[in-house]
Amino acid sequence: MNLFVELLAAGGVAGAKVGIAALGFALIFYTTREMHFAFGAVAVAAAYPCYWVVSALGDGPVATALGLLAALAAAVLLSIALHKYVYLRLRSVLPVVMASLGISLIVENLIQIVAGPDIQVLNYPALLSVVEIGSVRMRVLEIGVFIGFVIVAVAIDVFLNHTRVGQGLGATMDDPGMAELVGVRTSRMRIGAYAAGAALGALSGILMLVDTGLKPANGFSLLLYALIITIMGRGSMRSVAVWSLLFGIIRSLWSWQFSPDLQELAVFALMVSYLIIRDSWDRYQFNRIRPISRPAGPVAADLRA
C-alpha cells in the first residue's frame, strides 16, 4: 500500500512534467490545426539560452530571471516566425507536417553542433532537497512542478471560459470560419496561441535542464508524448490535462506489477490501442441506425456538432 501511494505520487509528477508540454502543444494544435512537429526541438533549443545566461552570470536570482526571460523570448519569437513565414505559406496539412519535421531536424542538429551532444544540468541545491509528506518522500522541485502544472491547467481553463479574449480563442478552436464572421481576429488568436504554447514548451525544456539534464535529442520524445496526449484529448484542454496525469500514473503503476523495462512499450501500445478502439467505436456509433423520432430539445450529439 505504501508503495502504491509512492508510485501514485511519482506518476502524478511524471504526468505533470509531460502535461506542461502537452498543454502547450494542444493550445497550438487546437487553435491553428497545424501539426507543429518542431515543438519539441524549439522547446529544447530555447532552454539553451537560459543555460548560457545562467552559467555566464552565476546562479543568483537576477541571473535566473534573465535566463528564464531569454528562454521564453527565444521560444516565442522562433515559434511565431515559423508560423508566419513557413506554415502560413504552405496552407495545407501534409506540407506543414513535412516542413516542421525538416525544421525540427535543422533546429535540433544546429543546437547539437553549437552546444555539443552532451547532457547539460543546472544545479540548484535548494530545489533538490527532499521533503517528507506523510509516507512519501519527494523533492521540492517535484512538488513545485505538480503545483505549477495545476496552476497552468486551471489558469487555461479559467482563461478560456471566463474572459473575453479566451472565449475568442475557444471560438477559434471550435470553428474558425464562424469566429471570423462574428468578429474574432483569428489570425491574432493563432499568433497568441503560438506564443503561449511555445512559452509552456520552453518551461518544460527548462524543467529538464534543472531536473534530469538536457541534451538536444530530448526534444523528440518530449514532442511525441505531447502529440499523442493532444490527439487523445480531442479538442478539449481539460481532457488534455486529465490524460497527461493519467498517462504518468499508468506508466508508473505498470512498474508496480510488471517489468519496468517494458514501461515505454506498454505506454505506446496502450495509446495506439486506445486510439484505434476509440475511432472504431465512434464510427460504429455514427453508422448505427437511429430511430427517426427524436426526443424534443437538444441531444448530446447536436451540442457536440
Binding site: 490545426r33 505559406r89 513535412m98 551532444p117 505506446f268 495506439v272
Partner: protein
Amino acid sequence: MRFLMTTFMLMEVYAIVAMSLNLLLGVAGRFSAYEAALMGVGAYTAALLATKLGLSLAWGCFAGALMGALIGTSFQVAARHMDFFTFNITSFAFQMALYETLLKWRGVTAGSFGIFNIPRPEIAGVSFATLEAYLAFTTICAGVIIGLLLYIERSPFALALRGLRDGEKALQSLGKNTFALKLKVFAISGAATGFAGGLLAGLTRTIHPSMFFVYLSVVLMVFVVAGGRGNLRGTVVAVFVLIMLEQAITLIPGIPTAQIGAVQRLFYGAVLLGVIMFRPNGLLPESPIFARTKFPGIKPVEGGFAFLAQSDGQRP
C-alpha cells in the same frame, strides 16, 4: 572499393524502401511513418530464421516480406476509421512501439546487442558469402523489385491509386472499393519494405534496433519528397544523389568526427524544408496523368502534398 560496394548496396536497399513509401505516400496519398520499423521487422525476421533455424537468407527475405505485408495491412485495418491527424500520430506511435519491441523483447531479438554473424545466402550450390557475390545477389533482387514497382506505377492499378489520392469520394462513386485498394497498396509496399530489410540484414551481417529508429523514417520521407510525389523513377534518382551527398559530407575537411552525424541530419532537414517550401512537386515532378482531355473545363489537381487540404482534418 569495399566502401563503394557497401554504399551502392545501401542505395539499392533504400531505393526499394523509398519507392514503396512513394507508392504509399505519393501515389496513393496514404501517410505512414513506420517504414523504418517495418524494415526492422523484415530484417529481424530474415536474420532470426537464418541464425536460429539455419534457413537460407533468400527465404528469410521472403518471410520478411510476408511479415511486412501482414503488419502493414493489419495496421491499415485497425486504423481505417481515423482522420488524418490521428492516423499520422498513431503511425508515429506505432513506429515507436515496434522499435521498443525490437529493443526490449530480449528473449528473441537479443535487445540492444542485436544479432551477429548473419550468414549470407547460398542458392543451388552457389555461395554469396563474399561482398562481391552478395553485391550481385542484392543487385538482382533490387532490380527485380524496382522493376516490379515501376511496372505497378504505370499500371491501371496505380491510376486507381492516384484517384484515391485526388478524390476518394469520386472514386467510390465510380464503384471502386477504396478500402480494398488501400489494403492492396499497403500489402505491396509492406512486402517490398520487409524484403529490403532482409537484404539489409545480409549486407551489414549485424543488426541492432538503433538502425531502425524513427529518424530513418524521416530520411525515407526526404527521399520521397525530394524525388517527386508520385514519380518512382525520381525517387531512385533522389536516393542515389542524396546518399552520395551524405557520404560526401564525411569528406569535407574541418568537421570533427563527432559532429558528422549532426551535419548529415542537418543536411536532410534542409533538403526537406527547402523542397517543400520552394519546389513542392519535388525535383522530378510526376507527369500529368492525362496529357490531353476533350473536356477543357477539367483542371488538374493541385500539385505537391496538398491533396489532404479538402478534408481539413475534420472528424467524420
